[in-house]
Symmetry: C2
Subunit: 381 residues, 2 copies
């Protein structure tokens, strides 16, 4: 028995030392977009602790976590779905599930991983343990804005048809509810942090559309009418991300499409309450977890800068230049520090969010999205 144990542990120790007695609550993965790799990082040590390679095309990749904060499910733009183990720092499963995918989600119980596809369109659902296909939901359309909501459900929208579908996977057969009349060409969507309100951005209409998912039969409601006035038919340089409007106090903050400003929207009735002029065209407006400050980064060529806006005064209180190609920001769960991807500097930079001091730089290869494991516990990501 002791000999067997010895052999087992020796083998284990040599092949995957990092899996040893490692808590996962303060870890994270950073997408290295051009390398097809992920950096494994430790928030408490402000350090990189490993790298996982071989994930294919990771431009615009995103990922979600299993409920135990051990496995990451990575959605590559090339249609690859890769499961990685953050403890052993290795790939434990990979399927090419479509030709061109744009993101995914994990069900509230951690059993299902859903992927939203451009090519051939539709949504595919996989077993989170085995990556076996569980449900194939063709839509006849590019599918966007896929999110998870409570009750083993996913919600997504159809670019071509202006519909939103709710898929319930709590029973053996998927049950699909289709909501029509969402508007012309939804290009992205989000759900609020409580999983209640689904909001779709429209390419072909001058408003957004909201659904109250707590209603028995949710009805599309136009919000922020005139939001896109003056930019009809104009492509924007970079589509601001709708995913996760920042909740700051009693308002949401969101990047204004094609403008150098962020919009403030009352979180309860979704009516615009203000605007703040910004340095450039905002890409992400992310609230510190307590909502007191909002951090904003910008589109090319002004993407070397970050501005911090105070929620009470709605004024920019701090501006600085981390370096060329600021792509993403991720706060530690309770907001005392923020990690920033500076792609063209090849660095992640870590800042104290109270005094804005730089605490550390970490080398990374063209870093983009930063994903901390506490996302495992959040809805609608």
């Amino acid at each position: 028995m002791q000999n067997q144990l010895r052999v087992f542990f020796l083998l284990f120790a040599l092949s995957a030392p990092a899996a040893f007695a490692q808590a996962t609550g303060d870890l994270g993965l950073v997408v290295e977009r051009t390398e097809g790799s992920l950096l494994v990082v430790d928030q408490s040590d402000r350090a990189r602790i490993g790298r996982i390679t071989g994930l294919g095309d990771l431009s615009h990749a995103s990922l979600v976590y299993s409920p135990d904060a051990r496995f990451g499910y990575v959605f590559g733009r090339d249609g690859g779905l890769t499961k990685v183990d953050i403890l052993t720092q290795s790939i434990v499963g990979r399927v090419m599930q479509a030709g061109n995918s744009i993101g995914g989600a994990i069900s509230d119980n951690g059993r299902y991983v859903a992927v939203s596809n451009y090519e051939p369109g539709g949504v595919r659902v996989f077993d989170a343990d085995t990556l076996e296909l569980v449900a194939d939901i063709p839509t006849g359309s590019k599918t966007i804005g896929l999110v998870d909501i409570p009750g083993t459900r996913f919600v997504f929208s159809l670019w071509d048809d202006g519909e939103t579908w709710i898929v319930d996977l709590s029973d053996a057969e998927p049950e699909i509810t289709k909501i029509t009349g969402m508007g012309a060409n939804p290009y992205d969507a989000l759900v609020t942090a409580d999983g209640r309100t689904y909001i779709a951005g429209l390419f072909g209409d001058d408003h957004l559309t909201a659904l109250d998912l707590w209603q028995h039969k949710p009805t599309p409601t136009p919000i922020l009418e005139g939001y896109a006035a003056g930019r009809e038919g104009l492509p924007v340089y970079k589509m601001p991300h709708l995913e996760g409007w920042a909740l700051a106090g009693t308002e949401f903050v969101l990047p204004a499409v094609g403008q150098h400003e962020v919009l403030w929207v009352d979180a309860r009735d979704l009516i615009q309450t203000g605007r703040t002029k910004t340095h450039g065209q905002p890409v992400f407006a992310i609230a510190r977890p307590d909502g007191r400050h909002v951090w904003v980064n910008f589109a090319h060529p002004l993407n070397d800068t970050i501005q911090v806006i105070d929620t009470v005064s709605k004024e920019v209180i701090h501006q600085f230049t981390p370096g060329p190609g600021v792509l993403h920001m991720e706060f530690t769960p309770r907001g005392h520090e923020v990690w920033v991807s500076v792609r063209d500097a090849g660095k992640i930079m870590i800042y104290d969010t109270q005094n804005f001091e730089k605490l550390r730089e970490i080398e990374a290869l063209n870093p983009s999205g930063i994903f901390f494991t506490n996302r495992a516990h959040k809805m609608g990501l």
Copy 2:
């Protein structure tokens, strides 16, 4: 080298096998109050995976987690502060820091653990790594309602003096801000989940007092006046817990003191918006993480029952009897299941929150508080 490794891993394997490649995101600790022990549980497996003993008097014990979700800091009623390692399932530190303590908190950066004391009163702050005393803050009063807020700060109130103190530990010397005029005999307090609004319950006044901690100089504001009408000077059977008002949609839900009802309070202006009659005198009113349902348990002798209230209709939609002595409820982070301590049945019971089906029973010795590791990522607990 290989021999050394072998010896090391063998020793480790024999002394603490549970520490092996265990992610910590879905673990938890359950207080076994009369035994002075903690059950280590796994949410995904719906199972107990170990027990940590020797923690002293755990009646009314509570605990907080380190940012990596590895260490729990347990606040015993007897003044004991115990640090446990959930990976090795063992005590790694313990100090008797006072004669009689009533709870604690951990700073946003995970560096400091603060404990609030009845005897001798005051707050003591400990290094989270070593449990060495970092700051001793005498107050000349019983100290209650200790919470953490952003910026390495703690907030607490003084029973005897009706004051609230804010302690800032971000610099070498603690900086204390004292707010007077909170009202007569604050007995408990809470902070909202964003760390913004601190609310104290008063034993000697017919209202509660709120502080907006985002103000430069927070001013005490009476709220819910007349809340206690008719019960002046009457002791309540069991003081309902103020910690963590349940945010359900746009309202808070809280147990009404001494009444068989819960109160609904607008989350923005803190004005009462409704009441729901309940089976008994509520102890905890806890919102499912999405806020759609509120689960309520009750004081003796009606403490065998749980009611579930719908947030939209404010009506009781489900009632059941888990068994004698329902003491606490904890939702999985995304709310698909709930764990319930049923003390006198010697069991933890696990329910599906969508269809209310019982999924599992776990044996436990007089279980009370259930604490899942995702609490590591929340403010104000």
